[in-house]
Symmetry: C2
Subunit: 408 residues, 2 copies
């Protein structure tokens, strides 16, 4: 096969992650090794928007130190976007790529971004323009198909697991006289992978979370209140990991449907603060919610070391696969072993990836629909890296009571 000389362009799209820049760094550092192939290394500012508007950055003019520091810098330093492409956009992208002699097109993102990459690949193929298009996976939602998991997920999962565990201890500490119920509202509108990850590191029945609700199963307030009351009666406190995307049995987002129907309130906060209100009104128990929001996907101080390496790897391998002549594919992660965890890369057809979403399968959720299974945890646990050791509890041996009970 004759070498295809030309320029390489990398772009990022969709919601950032803590390790998103690692993938861009993997692409750029690998590309820098191949001066004989890549005439230039370009980055698009703000994803496909930068291509459409020719906001294109010369990555060889960036200092190697800055490029290397991207491995410890969260989010996307190139900038990202959300944009659904139409026919006219696709023609423009072709025009821009041809004008600049871009022959390698690496697009880094989630489902929508793989749709973009797929369309760009098809457009180039149909018009006879030789350009190798590779998708580089990324999403904290972990919902791309044809890959074991997605870079970005492990780091968000680590934060969610650590935060839920510690909020559990916080809630337990003050349960007697303050707020015994805490709802953790977790990202992932359509898939519950991140919400389920809250249970990583749970060791015994007092450890948080005690209940988990994913968007994959219909959510009813009555069942939820029953579940909460039952845990409360047993432990005296309850920590709930709740997906922001839970839906009622009709498939409507709870946040929307209930904000009008159930209480007549206009809902400004998320579903977590709505359910806090429901718990307090219906069960008469004090509750609060935490909405870590974009902290979940950006806090690099708690990034998973495994995830960081893999985010770099998929970028690096994207360049290598393109050099080998591949196009129309996404770099996938292929798990080889759970224990010890090991993972390599492969290729998945963009056609099979674009516009599909991997939900949590029913068999990874418990029968009652309010927790994840051991198999779920076996799958997600290696992705977050080593967890700090679990916390002990005091045995609390009573010294005995010398006085009459206090009734006041």
């Amino acid at each position: 096969m004759a070498t295809l000389r030309g320029k390489l362009l990398v772009a990022q799209s969709g919601g950032p992650t803590a390790v998103f820049n690692n993938s861009a760094c993997g692409v750029i550092q690998e590309a820098l090794k191949h001066e004989d192939v890549f005439d230039e290394i370009y980055g698009a500012a703000n994803g496909i928007m930068g291509v459409l508007h020719e906001h294109i950055i010369d990555m060889r003019k960036e200092s190697p130190q800055t490029i290397a520091a991207m491995r410890r810098t969260p989010a996307s330093s190139l900038g990202t976007c959300r944009r659904k492409l139409d026919e006219r956009d696709l023609e423009r992208i072709l025009d821009v790529c041809q004008a600049h002699n871009i022959r390698y097109f690496l697009y880094n993102g989630g489902n929508d971004s793989m749709d973009t990459a797929h369309k760009v690949h098809n457009m180039a193929t149909e018009s006879g323009y030789e350009m190798r298009v590779l998708g580089i996976p990324k999403t904290v939602d972990n919902d791309l198909v044809e890959t074991d998991h997605c870079p970005g997920f492990g780091s968000a999962a680590r934060l969610v697991a650590l935060a839920t565990r510690d909020v559990g201890r916080d809630t337990e500490s003050g349960a007697l006289t303050t707020t015994p119920i805490n709802i953790m509202e977790i990202m992932g509108r359509d898939a519950g992978w991140l919400t389920g990850a809250a249970a990583i590191g749970r060791q015994d029945e007092r450890d948080a979370p005690h209940l988990i609700y994913l968007p994959e199963l219909p959510f009813t307030i009555d069942r939820f209140l029953e579940d909460v009351q039952k845990v409360y009666d047993r432990l005296g406190f309850v920590v709930i990991a709740l997906s922001e995307g839970i839906r009622d049995p009709k498939g409507n987002l709870l946040m929307k449907s209930s904000s009008v129907d159930a209480f007549g309130h206009t809902q400004l906060g998320g579903v977590g603060s709505f359910l806090v209100q429901v718990v307090m009104e219906k069960l008469g128990i004090k509750a609060r919610s935490n909405i870590a929001g974009t902290i979940q996907r950006s806090l690099i101080a708690l990034a998973s070391p495994v995830d960081r390496e893999e985010a770099y790897l998929v970028g690096q391998m994207g360049v290598k696969y393109a050099l080998e002549g591949n196009s129309g594919s996404m770099v996938s992660l292929v798990r080889e072993s759970d224990d010890p965890y090991s993972c390599t890369t492969g290729l998945a057809s963009l056609e099979k990836v674009a516009n599909f979403a991997k939900e949590v399968p029913r068999e990874l959720i418990n029968e009652e629909g309010n927790f994840v299974t051991e198999a779920f945890l076996k799958y997600v646990t290696p992705l977050v890296g080593e967890m700090p050791p679990s916390y002990p509890r005091f045995e609390k041996q009573s010294v005995g009571q010398l006085l009459d009970p206090y009734q006041h």
Copy 2:
């Protein structure tokens, strides 16, 4: 001075912190060194509630490993409470202490807890029962007077600073086509120390936060919207650190007042989600909020090493000061130097501490009332420990445009 033999009791009260257990551990490990003085070492379950109801734990029966592991365990493993004492409670406390021959009473908490300790001290003194009462400071709000700062604050401040910095990069990454405004709702209903700490590690004008609103100054929506628009026009995105306790010019919590007056909505979320709605309606710019809630005060993986040491130290010194014959005092932190940071302990009268709160002084807030000063940052920065290095940005040298502008 003759040695006062008897039992020592330690209890914790108020909102937990990530390093709260460090203080209990400091008390217990120091007390274990003095078998000649302390007949027993007791812990009260759930603060003063455990004293009132004689839920008292024998700490010598806990394994040394469990006690040592409290240094890496968040929140309060003894349990904590909120309870305002009345006269009858005080009599009961005296009865319980006398019945068990408790002669050393170490109470660990914030303002309300120091009020409890003060009352217990007075009650013991007035009734002629010899008992040494020491307050051990704790609060993420950092609002105790007569101490340079409070254990628990540095760790919460570290999380707030890191999260705000990274949310800044996340917001900047996607600002062009997604959500360019992010409001970080931060704990501290009456004092803005923790909210102001969001600016630790900020290096240039693009770094988050861009605006800071503390509860110490009146907040008006019009001024806020003006400030936000101005930053948005300059940078294209805005990250705001906002205290949960901001108040309107009449002194009412914004969350309450505005949820009825301004838009007629019933407010279920916090003030952050309310202001998101205001920004979207009035400025027409997409906004979201993050409410880290109790994650702020519990996440021990990001605890400040300085704070962890000091939390232990104040517990340990409480025992030492009590052994020296002190009573009716709180252990205080006394800063000796900013750079290099060094700090020792002292004693403050509980009378001067109880029921006072240290607000952020006006001169540590900028003239416009929307940011903190350099002096504020000089004060808080050493408390969070070393920050990870700041993140670079790409220089983004354009490769130039070869085509006509794209208008679609």
